[in-house]
Symmetry: C2
Subunit: 378 residues, 2 copies
Amino acid sequence: MNELTGLVLLAGSSQSDTSIHYLSGFTAPDPFLFLRTNSANYLVVSAMEKGRAEKQSRPGTKVFTPAEIGLTRKQSGKMGNQIIALIEKAKIRRIQVPPDFPVGIFRALEKKVNISIAGKPVCPERKVKTKEEISKLRQSQQSAVAAMNAATALIGSAGIDRQNRLLVGPVPDRVFLTSENVRQLIHKTLIDHDCAGIETIVAGGDQATDPHERGHGQLYAGQAIIIDIFPRSEKTGYWGDLTRTVCRGRAAPDLKKLYKAVKAAQAAALRAVKPGVCADEVHLAAKKAFEQRGYETKETDGRHVGFIHGTGHGVGLDIHELPRVGTSGETLEIGNVITIEPGLYYPGLGGVRIEDTIVVTEKGWRYLAPCPKKFELL
Amino acid sequence: MNELTGLVLLAGSSQSDTSIHYLSGFTAPDPFLFLRTNSANYLVVSAMEKGRAEKQSRPGTKVFTPAEIGLTRKQSGKMGNQIIALIEKAKIRRIQVPPDFPVGIFRALEKKVNISIAGKPVCPERKVKTKEEISKLRQSQQSAVAAMNAATALIGSAGIDRQNRLLVGPVPDRVFLTSENVRQLIHKTLIDHDCAGIETIVAGGDQATDPHERGHGQLYAGQAIIIDIFPRSEKTGYWGDLTRTVCRGRAAPDLKKLYKAVKAAQAAALRAVKPGVCADEVHLAAKKAFEQRGYETKETDGRHVGFIHGTGHGVGLDIHELPRVGTSGETLEIGNVITIEPGLYYPGLGGVRIEDTIVVTEKGWRYLAPCPKKFELL
């Protein structure tokens, strides 16, 4: 026995997949098996995947097919069999699995091997990004900036009809501008930057007061339009995350005030960011900025209004990862890449969110990729 | 007590997410809770999601926030607490969870509630598509056809230089044609059809002999180029799946023979499709067609060559779902939507795969959306 304990991850859930990608360099569309011991990483993949797994995985990763660890085709259909055969091959005595490991396989294994649930996060080192990771994240964020510039230029160029509807295109072929049109332009711009955009939010007016509503239909002048772009690089797998809120034409004074409050809250939160600080303090700074301006967070007619979400989250191989910037008590460290994205949502008035992705640095923080903040597009 | 047993699903893994989407009509980017009893569906979502959940979920779905089932903010952070509070609210005695349910939450629950692992697939009815689902799947498949036509038109229009490299564009601005260029065109075409394409395969020559290699770099005349497009509708969540293999210019006789064998194998597999047939028979028909033509499936120099994957899989809210068309012994039924995609892969010669997505009908089958099959683009 070379090793005492190994960590087993099963590709198939987003979190495990990205941890395996992080630790081994390999990722695949179908479920496969990963084992980490103190001295090596092991992958068990189908015969079809073996060549690619060997090419893409980090040096020191041992790649096997089920047949190579002694399993027949029929035996290898059960993931439990693959795990048992692999830990025998790797000569380890005990395995740990993350809490999101499938209970069905856990149950089948616990009679046969020494298995337990890991108490700590599987891959806490993911929180602190290397220089190389920051460069990959920056590329994704730059593609978000390019797409945002394209989107705001389109909205800014729109004509306005008597019903305040936005129109685009040369005069004989003018068409109404919809959330879908803007989203298509964003996604095509991301493709030009080797990124994919999914579920991008372009939501105007009351649609924007529901932070997960993607937005649909006609866009209007005078309404706040939230644009939230989170591209994933097709090459590296790393994400970017960027939100701006714009208004074509003049905004009513109340809406302008709302925008200014969010901008001030973001600035306050950013001022609180530095290594060693509890991330909750950053969230509190945004919260305080809203309270000082009289913006309440409460329930009205069964709907939650005001500042109804956390201030931010880590970004990496997952779009939402550690550290959270909310109420979970995590401490910021140099190399964390986090979003700072306060927002206010009041049905009848509108929704505003401003989000940047930043790197925590020795002296405080810096933007991953700067992007202008402008509300009224006149 | 109204009910004896309820089924609990936790959003967060792709399979559970799409089953919840199927059963409740609701889907969200963050984890949430779903309970199905004989009489009702229940959702527990964050306050922020409540409005959208009520709008999007099917009639008869009861939507609660953690606060509405009596949990404080702190309590609701643990999913186990949400489940306990919900089954009390729904007045049920026992719950079942799917085998991929997270073991950590299962362990925390089993001391407090009567919980067991469901022995059968959670949502077997998903295999048989309704008319409405088939229409949604057809739309996604049609977008794949449009993107395929754009891709093959681009490759077919390419010039060829003395090193057999493909070139596109007007003469003064000619550029080399790469896998990435073709993939970008495919993805943009899908966006025009409200679909998203991710990990699309455009792989030529030896790259195409690894079925999961996406393809990169220069494309050449005379090589087999596999184009595998699987778009997901941004509106409905349903997928399409389509593969063609093309060759710009003349193909060598061996490669042409390889293409013809795959085309014949697909035709043989399609002939075997009808309701009541074991899907394994369909796979065997393709296998036999290859064997009759002398195409062996074997391991050479540690690489698996020949017909190294199954013949197909179900398509729906997941890109890979039941029924499988391979060796799992499932029976085809009217309303199954499956791919038929035999392929042959020989490093040094090339890879060929032809894939259509079809509906199993009373009389046999029909294409979801027809697409021409042409190998040499002259």
